[in-house]
């Protein structure tokens, strides 16, 4: 399961970087990420940071769940 998630992450990263390269080929097109003074780029960055932090919290929570179980078990 964990390997699968890692693999999926790598694939997703490759896909996004490919998309970034493809965008560089074009000259200033009116695509979504470049509209509105490119504010969507900032939104993407902030949302990514938020996702990272929240995933970290969830992982911590799972670790502590395990610790608590071990503690009551022994």
């Amino acid at each position: 399961m964990k390997k699968l998630i890692n693999l999926a992450t790598v694939f997703a990263a490759c896909f996004f970087s490919l998309a970034a390269v493809a965008q560089n080929d074009k000259v200033e097109m009116a695509n979504v990420m470049r509209s509105n003074g490119r504010v969507y780029v900032v939104v993407a960055v902030v949302v990514l940071i938020l996702i990272g932090l929240l995933l970290y919290l969830v992982r911590l929570e799972k670790k502590i769940n395990r610790l608590e179980k071990e503690n009551t078990g022994s």
């Binding site: 504010v39 939104v43 949302v47 929570e61 502590i64």
Partner: protein, 230 residues
């Protein structure tokens, strides 16, 4: 995961804050311009800090009534995360003010002398230092019961001092900080309806995040405590 619905609410509200906070319309004001969006982030840090400190003092009082060491752990962890959010609020405030209060025509040092006199800054610094002292006081006492009692009493004093330092004094003295005549961001006159759509969910979202972090810290220290006793 036990009782995880509020964590899901927290995640959803935070995503709404981060996306809506950047993309929804805001009123256009001089000097502030787009930085007004900091209301969803900077102000929420202080709201969250205030709520966490309130929780901390409630558990301190609970401890003094029951002498249950569990309440002491709750009280400490709420204060610790409250300090974290306070420091974040202070740091974000520094960035915000250096682009709105500082005069761009003067060198930074020239506007610094004006900003350094800002009562809200000094008050918030004092309030945070009092809570730093709470941590130092706690961790310098080795006896568990004594530590819990002394720090619970100190916690109540620290909480009482929050009010003059961050709520009362900055309003008596002339200040650049908004919210001079009323509760900042809660007053019906000084916040736009469009912003309220994001601001209230943002406050709830950030507060829930603070409580979430605190709950993890509490559970960790309860496990530690158990291992110590056994």
């Amino acid at each position: 995961m036990r009782k995880s619905w509020w964590k899901i609410v927290c995640v959803l509200l935070l995503f709404y804050t981060c996306i809506g906070g950047f993309l929804l319309d805001v009123p256009q004001l001089p000097a502030l311009s787009e930085t007004i969006r900091n209301l969803y982030f900077h102000v929420c840090m202080w709201f969250c800090m205030m709520i966490l400190f309130t929780a901390s003092v409630v558990y301190a009082i609970k401890f003094l009534r029951s002498y249950n060491i569990k309440d002491d752990i709750y009280s400490r962890q709420f204060a610790a995360v409250g300090i974290l959010f306070g420091v974040l609020g202070y740091a974000t405030g520094i960035i915000w003010m250096s682009f709105t209060w500082a005069d761009p025509n003067n060198p930074a040092a020239a506007s610094f002398s004006a900003i350094a006199k800002e009562p809200k800054l000094i008050g918030a610094a004092i309030a945070l230092l009092i809570y730093f002292a709470y941590m130092v006081l706690r961790d310098s006492i080795h006896d568990i019961d004594k530590r819990a009692r002394i720090s619970a009493v100190y916690n109540i004093f620290a909480y009482a001092l929050l009010f003059p330092t961050i709520w009362i004094l900055p309003r008596i003295l002339p200040s650049l900080h908004p919210g001079q005549e009323g509760n900042p961001a809660l007053n019906f006159k000084d916040i736009d309806n469009k912003m309220r759509m994001v601001f209230y969910p943002a406050v709830i979202g950030w507060t829930l995040l603070g409580v979430w972090i605190t709950s993890i810290k509490i559970r960790l220290s309860l496990v530690k405590e158990k291992q110590l006793l056994s």
